[in-house]
Amino acid sequence: MARQWEGKSRGGSFGYKVFIWLLRHIGLEATYLLLCLVVLYFIPFAPRQTRSAWVYSRTILGYGRMRASWFLVRSYFAFGKSIIDKVAIGSSMEDRFSFEFENHRMMLDLIESGKGYVAIGAHVGSWQMGAPFFGKYGSRINVVMYDHERQAVKKVLEDHVQEDSFKIIPIADDGISHVFEISNALRNGELVCFQGDRYMNEDRYLTAEFMGHDAKFPRGPFLLASRLRVPVVFYFAMRERGRRYRFHFFAPGAPGASGVQNDGRPLREEELFTQYVKSLETMVRRYPEQWFNYYDFWNIYSSGKRNS
């Protein structure tokens, strides 16, 4: 079995359509309730995802069997809520949520500077929850995405809910066209968002110890930000109790000067990467059930090693 992410996201456009219909006809709370049934369905009928979540809770988080079983439910429930909330926000239901920002001023300074910059997130929490807030400041947002399925999901959202406040730069089949789009967007003073935790190119990755085990990450976002000498922020939107989202912005490098060292030089790729992994680990330790990489991220069982 291939260890790396295979370019498909679970759910697809049908799942989104169902949630959109439910939200409109039975309301937010009732949709969360129905989600409980979906979670019970997913545990046996999505065996690959369930296995990855089980191994994550047992081996990475070190949970016992009882706690890991309960964790499976919580993890799927958190994932389902992230989808429902994303659709709710797209349907102008922002007033049903509350939002807290950490390091907000730093992010606003970057946006208002008019410079192109890179935001690197991950498949934790729900980064899309922040799009309306970035959009307010008139900065054009580009999100670099991998698979065709995500574009299909985007199409569904465009058809059913208000216009999204971000553009998608798809990873091109020819392997290069997106680089020109990314470069142009940055040079035009736009924001380019990457997810720094999934790689597709077997030859271009970086390795780090993450959550106590070695893991591979894509090299592209870190190299690109460093070589194009643009400011960088790490960005995570995490769900908390009471329908509250907390936006975390981490600035690598010198305080107040994201993406540069104390002497003003741009951070090197390795330094950006090291700080990204550290920030991501901080998030995953604080919100372990919002880790949504449902595959063998740490290559624990795909290569024939021990299964827990």
Partner: protein
Amino acid sequence: MIMEELIENLKKQIIEALNLEDLAPEEIDADAPLFGDAGLGLDSIDALELILILERDYGIKVAPGEGKEVFKSVKTIADYITAHRQ
């Protein structure tokens, strides 16, 4: 700078930027595709280095949508530089 000289310079810059030191400039066919299996087999990260060569060494930014055509081969890059250089 005449075209031949420009192509020669570009080949040297590409070899240096992409760490292709085991390749001599004369081994790169100016008309051969840079990307894909047929030519040098460069990838997306190499494309970034080519963008930087144009920006840094020639002061040229490739217009949106033109990247794929411009970076087809060493010759097409040289043509673009010639057409856009001040």
